[in-house]
Structures are given as C-alpha cells and as structure tokens.
Amino acid sequence: MDPTQYTSSAEDTVETVVGPSVNVEGDFASEGNIIVKGTVSGSVHTSRHLVVEAGARIMANVRAGSAQIAGEVKGNMKVKENLELMSTARVVGDIEVKVLAVEAGALICGKIMMPGLEAESRAMKKTIGKKFDEQPVMMDA
C-alpha cells in the first residue's frame, strides 16, 4: 500500500511506517496506525489499525485495535476488533480476536479464541455445573 494514499484517507491519525529493508527491535508501540513492510521483533502495540504487507515479517506478540495481515507473524496476536488474513498471510501463534476474516490460502498454526463465544461457553459450563450440583440434592431428598 502506498503510505501517501493511507495518510490522505486518515489525515487525522499519526502514521508509522516500517519500510522495506528496515529492522525494528524492541517494544514497538504507536498511538496511530502502523504499516509494516520490513522486519519487527520484540512486541508490537497499537490501539488503531495495523497493516502487515506481503513480504513483511513480525516476530513478536501483537496487540492492535484492528489488523490486516498479508505477511508473516510469529507470535501471539490479540486484536480488539477485526482481523483480516489475506491469502499470503502466515500466522504461527495464538489469535484472540472479535471478528476474523480469512482469505483462501492463508496459513494459521495456533489456537483461535473469540471473546463472545468464550463467554457463552462459560455460561454453558455454569449451567451444566448447576445441574450437576442439583442432582445429588435430589438424590438425598
């Protein structure tokens, strides 16, 4: 993606671009959108949008507001809203996301968790547990 195009569409936000053949090491955090075209290792954190372009590599745990991945990510990902995995994406690590879209051809190796479903399963477990607790009482009566 052309960074100039991106800035024109979101002029109010501060843009961070990691260009090709640039390496970033450490706790990489930004208040605005991040576009990664190079290599990042350590950790990545943004409250806004993260774009990992094809050919880019992230060897870090990622936390973002929303993300679009077309490159390689080795590490756990925690995305608040939408995560879009393009056909060239390769993700090795657990994913925690609200809405996930996976294009045909994307590779994922890891656990996928969605908070909404997790809450439902907890409720299910509770109801099952209650029923299980009630049964011995019935037996005693």
Partner: protein, 254 residues
Amino acid sequence: MYVYIYDNFVRNKKFESLIKAMEIRLTDYGIAGKILRLTNYTDAKPIIDDEIKRGAKTVVIVGNDETFGHVLSRSATCDCTFGFLPVGPGNTIAKVLGIPEGEAACDTLSRRRKELLDVGWMNNRYFVSQLHVYPAKLEVVYDERFKVYANDLMEVVVCNLQPYYWKKHTKSQDQQVVHPQDGKLEAFLRPLTKKRFWGYNYEDPSIFPFEEMEIFAKEPFTVEADGKKSKEVKVKIKLAHGKIDMIVGRGRKF
C-alpha cells in the same frame, strides 16, 4: 518596538533596491525599527536578549533559510515574537510559513497573524525547519524503547516545519505534508541498497513520529540542521518544550 536582524549577504548590491523598497514599505506601515547586522560568528541570543531588555517586542529576521536557522538555533526560546522577511535565494521556509518574497512580505508582517510553532532540540541547539543526517551506517533508538537499523547505509530526515519530499520513481513525486503543530516530530528513514555494480538505490522511507530519539554510529556522520552542517557520532533529538511565537502568512502550509 521592532528590531530587524539583517544577514550579512543582504549588503550585496544585488539586493540594495529590494531592501530599500522594503524599508520604505515598513516605514509606511509604521513598523520600522532598529537594524542589526549578523555575521557568521555572531550568537543571536545575547543580542536579542539585550534588545528585549531595551523594550523590543518583535524580532524580524531578514535573509534566507540559513539566516532563519542561524538566529533561531540559539534564540528560539527568547520571550518575543519573531517575524521573517525572505530575501535572496534559498528561501524554502518562507513558503511553508506562507510569507511571500519581496515587498509583499512587509504586508504579511504588518498583519501580525501569529502562530505558536514547535521547536526541535538537537544536542545543544534548536532547529526549526528540518534536520538531515546524510547516509551512513546508523542505528536509531526511539523513546528508549525500540531501535531501528538498516542492513547497509541509511539516511534520516527529521521534519518540524518543512515538509519532507521524496521520489518513489524518478518521474513521479510523492509528497508528505508534516504539520508542525501536531506535538510530535516526524522522522523519515531511507535505507540505501547497493546497485548491481556501483552506487546506491534509495528504498521507500520509513516514517516514525517521536518525541525523543537518539542516532548512533561507529564513525562520525554529517548532520545538517537548518542549513548548518556538523559532524557527530551521537545525536539526541527531541521536541523542545518551548514554542516560537511566529508571524505567519495566510498561505501557510500547516
């Protein structure tokens, strides 16, 4: 009260008629004042401080980008309003500030449209428009949290007032406009990759907004801040807390 700081080169005969016309226009507006002449070895800060003590409220720089950088690199935090009258070649900052060249600049000055501008701090001096680190094997540490490096040479441009221009292809020209009032400096890093036989190719730039950064290298590298070059091994750049009260034009680019 107005004080005018003239660069030494405006004495040149080439600019004589323009300076005379400007002085007449300033007198017409009733904003003419004391004229001080700058030389290469003059530190502007004590001069401006003296004039402020004598009652000066507005200091007007007369010259080009180099003059602007020379005066404000030391005196950016002086308690006065700054104005700028661009004269001669090499005037890019004036365009960013929306100040026209020639006599028309006096009109802008008389209107006194003021803006507070951020200032950058580099090692022991201020810079207002742009800081340029020429290609070298550099390592950049941002806000003491993460470091950025390239496999080969890298060029760094830190923009405060001046927009950063870069070409993606030789024919096209993409432009990034950096707003000086966003409360952050913006660093543009361009790695260079070796061509097949000799020379280098520029890669697409990386962009990092920051408040503090350090640039290291094993060998001394050239730094140009507001048109003044120096050799450094370590440069600490940060956003200064002070701001410049500057008279700007209507057509300013921020």
